[in-house]
């Protein structure tokens, strides 16, 4: 490993936030650096930083300009970001049940047709993947995953749907996703999970964290109904396996 890493770009996001950009593209190495900086700031907070938001390729750092100015903060951030990455720690791994196809995954057949294969094969490729939570955003708990099998990369729908159900498991472009709340989406819907990545009065409220590993496994629709009721009552459902 190099002694120091190339510096990220500091992009002003107004007077109270700065975007620390490691890459312009989706790139696991850049995402690891984002999460490493995020962790370093959590472990040794810089006075004035109020909140950090990791994304695929950048860390958005909110701060109070009454406490620290752009230049002083930027220097500190660059110093931390140029340090070699700490050795990888054990990631949490979530095994997430998915009811594929039918009413729960209305695009499964079309995706199979578009890729010249069978729905079962699409399910096997999707459930066979080893994913990483790259970021959470858009709506509470919406987990963006990297690691989608290349054979499943396909452009988003021409016209986004205004409504897609809670728990939707979908793919879009080179990404896979776990959606928690009902929301508009232009992604292809493969199935639904009873798992709530966000549930207000549950401990923990948010299940997934950026950096977590994720795998999926198929369940039948009857199991989905049972687990959905249990999840509604506050059960986590997802199986945690520490990698």
């Amino acid at each position: 490993m190099a002694a120091t890493l190339p510096p990220p770009r500091l992009l002003p996001s107004g007077d109270s936030a700065v975007t620390v950009e490691f890459s312009r593209t989706i790139d696991d190495a850049a995402n690891e650096r984002v999460l490493a900086l995020d962790k370093a700031l959590a472990a040794a907070p810089i006075e004035g930083i109020s909140e950090t938001i990791p994304t695929y390729r950048s860390l958005l750092v909110h701060y109070d300009p009454g406490t620290i100015g752009f230049d002083a903060l930027g220097e500190k951030l660059l110093a931390i970001a140029s340090q070699p990455l700490p050795p990888a720690t054990k990631a949490r791994r979530w095994r997430i049940p998915v009811a594929y196809g039918g009413e729960h995954g209305i695009d499964l057949e079309d995706v199979a047709k578009a890729l010249n294969t069978t729905p079962d094969d699409i399910v096997a490729r999707h459930a066979g993947g080893d994913y990483r939570v790259a970021m959470i955003g858009f709506t509470p708990g919406w987990s963006y995953l990297s690691g989608l099998d290349k054979s499943l990369h396909m452009s988003r729908r021409q016209s986004p749907r205004l409504f897609t159900p809670a728990g939707t498991i979908s793919i879009g472009g080179i990404q896979a996703g776990i959606q928690c709340l009902a929301a508009p989406s232009g992604w292809h819907l493969l199935g639904r999970t009873p798992v709530r990545t966000y549930q207000l009065h549950r401990n923990p409220t948010f299940l997934t964290e950026p950096g977590d590993r994720v795998t999926f496994f198929a369940i039948d629709h009857k199991t989905f109904e049972e687990q959905d009721r249990a999840a509604e009552a506050g059960e986590i459902i997802a199986e945690r396996v520490d990698a």
Binding site: S50, H62, P140, F206
Partner: protein, 345 residues
């Protein structure tokens, strides 16, 4: 305890406060008042913390009735005609509604959002430290949705404290100030200049999530798709059609369009209060200037209590009175107890 009943209210009105910060990393929208200065001024008038929960009233009118006792309130923000049984109530003042009395607020005469603070503040169940309504996520308390007629708040009985007005600095005129970035390098110099030198209007389809800007189409250098990254209040993103959108308090926490510029903290509330259809411009300022303005804005909010005055000393505001008359309220200065008027205007 008294109650304050929402007797009537228009759309785009909800309980808001300083916002829900700390969980943007999980996709949780911040919400909160669109005009932080007006929020703080209204709260300061009734002795609340500056970012306590208030009623944010959209551009249409509203009426509030006190029940089971008196309720002390204050109004600040977008100016509108206000009265209690024909007695005018001035903007930026506190007033006590006696049991059974109704405060009537007209349409906003400029801007969009008026803040009704209640002495002792609105009470409810905090979610991530905030009562602010985020209708999309079903969050907010006591009502996790826009307000409707018949909603009510259980509030402190009025303290009987003397009524106050607050002397706010004269609202700034002139351009909305921005800092370029974070993705201004996704635009060439001609398109950056087009953004900064053009007149813009806020589209009527704007809401708390974003203000759509009408003006020339801004073209991207490399297309409109970037890898999603974080957003802030006042991020100005440019989607594929070239019509910029200024992201406001109900914005998604991340977005995938290039952001050409960011409205400075001190001007987010000014943009929020810019009426749909009114022409305005942007002006780029340096980071040093923006941060200086942000610190002054913080200082202004911190020192609002120093700007409180007895409302007995209120001077006749000819303009407001004339506006009220023009609007058909036929205010009689001689009858207007709260105006302390001894001569006809």
């Amino acid at each position: 305890m008294s109650r304050l009943v929402v007797a009537s209210i228009g759309p785009a009105s909800s309980v808001q406060d300083g916002g829900r910060y700390g969980a943007q990393r999980y996709g949780l929208t911040v919400s909160g008042a669109m005009d932080r200065l007006a929020l703080s001024a209204a709260n300061t008038l009734v002795g609340n913390q500056p970012f306590a929960a208030v009623v944010e009233i959209g551009p249409f009118g509203a009426t509030f009735t006190a029940k089971d006792g008196a309720v002390r309130v204050a109004i600040a923000g977008a100016p509108r005609n206000a009265d209690i049984a024909g007695r005018p109530v001035a903007m930026d003042t506190s007033v006590t509604l006696k049991d059974g009395e109704t405060l009537t607020l007209g349409f906003a005469r400029g801007g969009a959002f008026t803040y009704l603070a209640i002495e002792g503040a609105i009470k409810g169940e905090l979610v991530f430290g905030s009562l602010a309504v985020n209708a999309r996520a079903g969050l907010g308390s006591p009502y996790p949705r826009p307000l409707q007629a018949g909603d009510e708040f259980t509030v402190n009985a009025a303290s009987g404290a003397p009524e106050l007005r607050i002397e706010l600095p004269k609202p700034l005129a002139g351009p909305i100030r921005v800092v370029l970035g974070p993705q201004d390098d996704e635009f060439d110099d001609a398109n950056k200049a087009l953004f900064l030198d053009s007149e813009w209007k806020i589209s009527a389809t704007s809401d708390r999530m974003g203000y759509r800007l009408e003006g020339p189409a801004i073209k991207h250098l490399h297309g409109h798709n970037i890898v999603s990254d974080g957003t802030v209040n006042g991020s100005i993103q440019v989607p594929g059609n070239g019509a910029p959108i200024a992201l406001m308090m109900d914005r998604g926490t991340s977005g995938g369009y290039p952001k050409i510029a960011t409205v400075i903290t001190a001007d987010v509330g000014r943009l929020a209060q810019t009426s749909a259809g009114m022409a305005f411009r942007f002006k780029a300022v340096t980071m040093a200037e923006a941060q200086d303005e942000a610190r002054k804005f913080q200082q202004l909010i911190r020192t609002l209590p120093d700007r409180l005055r007895s409302s007995d000393t209120v001077e006749l505001n000819i303009e407001a009175l004339s506006d009220a008359n023009v609007a058909g309220y036929a205010v009689s200065a001689m009858d207007a107890g709260t105006w302390q008027v001894t001569a006809e205007p």
